[in-house]
């Protein structure tokens, strides 16, 4: 969990709350809608200010309160936002899109939209009112609606202010709050009022500091109405209790800029998320809902789209029974079951924790999401007599996890696990046709995963392989000064997996054509692909190489072979880095060149050998040139990145290692011709 700071607090139970002292008074509001004054326009960037952002949030303020309703509690979210537009390119911040969820007659309702655009002209503020009828509502799919509005009369220098409310029937997850954006934020604040009978887990992402982070106990009161029968008048009742008021604020937050080699920007932008942990309506009986693993597990176990799906009759039971007889050894049997499920259904590229259909339907359709396919895998492994368990995880693009207390919203994917007789873990995933047992796709290489069984053990996902590329060139210098020979490219581990995927999803001819274009200095021809059946062996490509002579007459030839073969795959261009470099798995690149010289050509100068190492051996570059016989020169360059993730503190060294390696590979071999 290096480099990312996730915090978690399981909110205190109500009994504790009741003992806590009540806060004196609520903190002042950070913004009052409609109170824009000329001072808000001060400091507007000039047209020539090159440091100015395109727009800026002056204040973004949100509250969530849980209130009583008819027959159920509701979460009421209010947002009031004031922002300034500095440049025309910032006009897009004047359009707001709000996603809403609906399901089975329960809704998130959007209401109370108000908005004004303020412009300062000749020292006077003019205002344009947002016509609340200009609200567009779009049904994205069955369960998702999007409402959109855009502010009127927006110009460079406008201040926009809007406020709206979302009333939600869903109290399992409250509205998230994002403090950090791609434009600067002067003040962002979120307050959440949670009555003592609801306990929530809060999950905080990101790494910049909060200006305010506090918990207060405040009095709480709400009306609920409950009807006792179909024709009875609903009974109104006031509930008075205590509540926990949580408050976070950030001040002067700079614009977030994404960097390459990040899992997902959301791991690094400050945000807060909620999931219901438990309830205690009587004041005596805390009912744990998801706050502890056993209750969460019980719920998953009984879910039709998770545990119940697994316990339904296995559609591949007959095949599984046959494999059980055929493969007495567990590991071999697991591999055979994996191959069976891989060919039984196609992955539709939707990461999911829950099945979208009964498992027999997945077999029938031969198509499904990650849960459809991997729960089918777990079920079939079990039918083959293997102790398989679903493995809950979060994909890299979904973000990293905290492990202190499980929160179901953190997971978005399920893979499979078997504990082998020798007590080792075997991880499996059937969403990719060529993935071997023991290897998970790159998207799953994201730290921790949780076994979905009664014990609920966390395990660390260690990449089962490196990303390895090996290039072997055999070149001959002709008497005319041109270079001819062959190049063999080998891709192993995750590099092999990626190459196979590329070949599968394009075609071998597209793949080879792409490789041929990779060396602008060379004419690469006659590509030949060697694709072994098993991913345990590297994917190999052989190419014929030719580089015409550039200086036919010269008595000296200068060659930078390793550099022209593209030995160092990337250089880290930015000078500084705020976030870790996450490569997913260790990487290794090796290039070997053997050059044969014609008669009469001798080596005049050879670059010196070099070995560079990062602290604690986390990375290494080796380079050597030798002349085993008078007619041959051998060159070797090897870059090893032994960690899956490098912290910002390690970045400078990582960058320098690459730059020095690239410079070394560009050094010339000087040959002299008679």
């Amino acid at each position: 969990m290096k480099g990312i700071r996730l915090q978690l607090s399981l909110l205190g139970l109500c009994l504790l709350l009741a003992c806590a002292a009540l806060a004196q008074k609520a903190p002042a509001l950070p913004i009052r809608f409609g109170s824009v004054v000329p001072a808000d326009f001060f400091g507007m960037p000039t047209a020539t200010d090159t440091a100015a952002s395109v727009a800026e949030y002056l204040c973004d303020y949100g509250t969530t309160k849980i209130v009583g309703g008819s027959a159920q509690f509701q979460a009421v979210f209010e947002r009031t936002t004031r922002l300034r537009i500095h440049r025309k390119a910032g006009y897009r911040y004047a359009t707001v899109k709000v996603p809403l969820y609906t399901s089975n007659g329960r809704y998130e309702r959007f209401s109370n939209l108000k908005g004004y655009t303020y412009n300062l002209q000749d020292g006077r503020i003019s205002q344009a009112k947002l016509n609340s009828e200009d609200l567009y509502r779009e049904q994205l799919d069955k369960d998702h609606i999007q409402v959109s509005f855009t502010m009127p009369d927006v110009r460079e220098g406008s201040i926009l202010e809007f406020t709206y409310t979302i009333t939600s029937d869903f109290i399992f997850n409250l509205q998230d709050w994002q403090f950090e954006h791609s434009i600067p934020v002067r003040w962002s604040e979120y307050r959440v009022t949670l009555p003592q009978f609801y306990a929530y887990k809060t999950i905080i992402r990101g790494h910049l500091p909060f200006a305010v982070k506090e918990e207060l106990t405040v009095p709480y009161s709400t009306m609920v109405s409950a009807s006792t029968g179909a024709y009875a008048t609903p009974q109104q009742e006031r509930i008075s209790a205590l509540a926990l008021q949580l408050r976070w604020a950030m001040k002067d937050v700079p614009a977030f800029r994404a960097e390459p080699f990040l899992t997902t920007p959301h791991d690094y932008m400050r945000s807060v998320h909620f999931e219901l942990a438990g309830t205690n309506f009587s004041g005596r009986n805390y009912e744990d809902l998801t706050g502890k693993w056993p209750t969460l597990w019980k719920m998953l176990e009984e879910d039709n789209e998770f545990g119940k799906a697994l316990s339904s009759p296995a559609p591949l039971a007959a095949e599984a029974a046959a494999l059980r007889l055929k493969y007495p050894e567990q590991k071999a049997r697991a591999a055979a079951v994996l191959a069976l499920v891989q060919s039984a259904a196609q992955y539709n590229n939707h990461a999911a924790l829950f099945a979208s259909q009964p498992l027999r339907r997945t077999v029938e359709r031969r198509l499904g999401n990650a849960a459809d396919i991997n729960l089918l895998l777990v079920q079939t492994l079990r039918a083959a007599g293997l102790p398989a368990t679903p493995l809950l995880l979060s994909t890299r693009s979904h973000g990293q996890m905290q492990t202190l207390v499980p929160a179901i919203s953190q997971f978005n994917y399920v893979a499979a696990h078997i504990l082998l007789p020798d007590n080792t873990d075997l991880l499996l995933d059937a969403t990719e046709p060529e993935l071997p047992a023991g290897m998970l796709p790159e998207r799953c290489l994201n730290g921790q995963a949780l076994l979905a069984d009664a014990a609920g053990r966390w395990l660390t996902i260690r990449p089962a392989a490196r990303h390895t590329e090996l290039r072997t060139a055999r070149l001959r210098l002709t008497e005319h000064g041109s270079l001819e020979g062959s190049l063999k490219l080998e891709y192993a581990g995750y590099a092999g997996l990626a190459a196979r995927r590329q070949i599968r999803q394009g075609s071998s001819s597209d793949y080879l054509a792409g490789l041929q274009r990779q060396w602008p200095d060379w004419d690469a021809s006659k590509p030949h692909l060697l694709l072994p059946d098993s991913i345990q062996h590297p994917v190999a490509v052989e190419l014929a190489l030719h580089m015409p002579s550039s200086t036919t007459q010269a008595s000296q030839l200068y060659l930078a072979l390793l550099s022209s073969l593209g030995t160092i795959p990337y250089t880290f261009r930015p000078e500084v880095r705020s976030y870790p470099v996450n490569l997913g798995m260790p990487h290794e690149y090796v290039s070997l060149v053997t050059l044969t010289l014609p008669k009469g050509t001798t080596v005049q100068e050879m670059p010196a050998s070099l070995s560079l190492m990062l602290p604690e051996g986390s990375g290494r570059f080796q380079y050597s040139v030798s002349q085993p016989t008078p007619e041959t020169v051998q060159m070797m360059a090897r870059m090893q990145l032994n960690k899956a993730e490098y912290s910002p503190a390690e970045y400078a060294a990582l960058r320098e290692l690459h730059q020095r390696a690239a410079a070394k590979c560009a050094e010339m071999l000087v040959l002299s011709r008679k």
Binding site: D141, E364, S525, T571, A662
Partner: protein, 652 residues
Amino acid sequence: MVFYLKHTCHAALLALGLLAGSHALAGGPPPKYPVADIPGSLRENAHAVVRLSDETLLVKSAGRTIETVRRAITILDEAGAHHAQELVYYDQLSSVSYLRGSAYAADGRLLRTLKASEIGDISLSDGFSLASDGRGRVADLRQPVYPYTVEFEYEVNSTNTLFYSTWQPQAQEQLSVEQATFRVLTPTELPLRYQERDLPAGTAAARTSVSAALQRYEWQVRNLAAVEQEPDGPPVGETTPVVFTAPTQFEVQGHVGTFTTWQALGLWNYQLNAGRDELPPAVQEKIRALVQGETDERARIRKVYEWLQANTRYISVQLGIGGWQTYPATSVAATGYGDCKALTNYCQALLKTAGITGYSALVRANKEDIRTEFPSQQFNHVVLCVPLQKSAKPDTVWLECTNQTNPFGYMSSFTGNRHALLVTPQGGRMVRTPQYTAADNRRERLADVYLDAQGSATATIRTRRSGLEQDDYEGMAGSRNLADQKKALAEHLPLANFSISKLSYTQDRRAAVPVITETLGLTLPGWASVSGRRAFVTPNLLSRWHALPATVGERRTPIWLENAFSYADTVRIHVPAGFKPENLPAPVQLSTAFGTYSSQVQAQADGTLLYVRRLLMPRTRFPRTEYPAYQDFRRRISAADKAQIVLLKTDA
């Protein structure tokens, strides 16, 4: 409680609906589309094969059409798998009567038939529109084992007869076609208008009378081998068989028109949008005050245009007839935003207040030009065209009203170099938008590189780009802050190791084509490779061109280049003390039908080395047979561009 869980984790599920019984009848239906029947020539270079495509357009009346499609495609490998997913578009003016699908194994055995519950309904919101009514019915029949065949059938009922079908059975590369048929049935009083392109010899339309009242047109193609997109060639869709069709008469939401001539099409557009140009008195007052005292016609237009740019912005709203009819000018005046029609109409109204007449001009932006010989609705954008009345010689100002930073009068690669249909009270008139030639599209670069004895360098580079060459830099120069500019530029610089010490952009919009000048400072660690007594330098600092990939087989398509341009690079290399040039690259001079190229390095009296490179490409279209010569031209440029200077340490 389980239900709540799905709020975030578990979105698009539920409703498993109709659990129909098994379809596997005893004996089963006869096999369909067995893969073994595909001729070998159609499998070559193909990811998928259209086995059968049957499209029928039934014209019910001037205001209603029914399109019926049945299509079977064999998916040979994963790269063809997207053909197993179908999306049928509909909106406020059309509906999907049905969408059905089945999958067949390689041997033709029915694998399964889609259930109604498996057909999705999604919004096709484009992400940038505030509102759009485009939606799709979607189906997914992807299978884990290749090859397999999918068959889709659907029917779309449309009351938008502005558009008839375009039949293009082979719209994509690496897709072959076994058999495809297109049929149009239309009442005799509504004859079909059509245009054929690239049809195989002997595939002309068969026209028959079904009855006195009903005409039938039919086309069929067979055995089209898969084709590939070629480098510097036209898009595949521009080279494969296609039949465009259009109505003679149409009616959309009560608006009737004819399409037989550009004049008529323009007239319909004019009438649809007429009378929507009324402005509130306050706005009229502002505009009158703005242009008061300005006598020069062009200056008046510029003032109005700049006011429009400062006070409005582009917001796309595409709903029903609103896709063709503008919002009234009063609406833009009230909200300050609109789409291309609304902003063009607004600008036209503003100019009218200033006493200047402009016409909206329909164009097909950012794509291939329209087919001028086939009057039909082929447009996707509208700009404003203002012919100058008081000018001595004929002159026209073109205004792009949706872009708040676009230079006055400049059409860019988005709408320049193409045809436009002027919408006038007398009807449509075909004109040309401004042409941007090699003389307009220039890139002139002056660099000074100071090399040190260790091989590191610093450079100051001034690059002046004009016309279409500056288009990609317009957004960067105009609206990004310095940190974002540096980040964006760093991603494009063709250098391995550098840092940007200085960067600024200045824009000059006084001339007919805009100019952006970039001033760049770089530090270049290890720019020269130093080995022993020698240092190696590639004087072509930023303008290297690579050769084209080797071709396999004969070139199929002509050469289509993006635009004409001219480049000039001058790099002065300041050699460190203690070094002198040992070897300078020989000068290169290439003069071909495609363009001219020259590069040379000269040692100057002051000890510096001067590299000068020129590349002029005045034309953009060449026949297929010229491709080998073009490849050779590119190869020779590439070789010249990587030439190196060798510097030798003097024994001082």
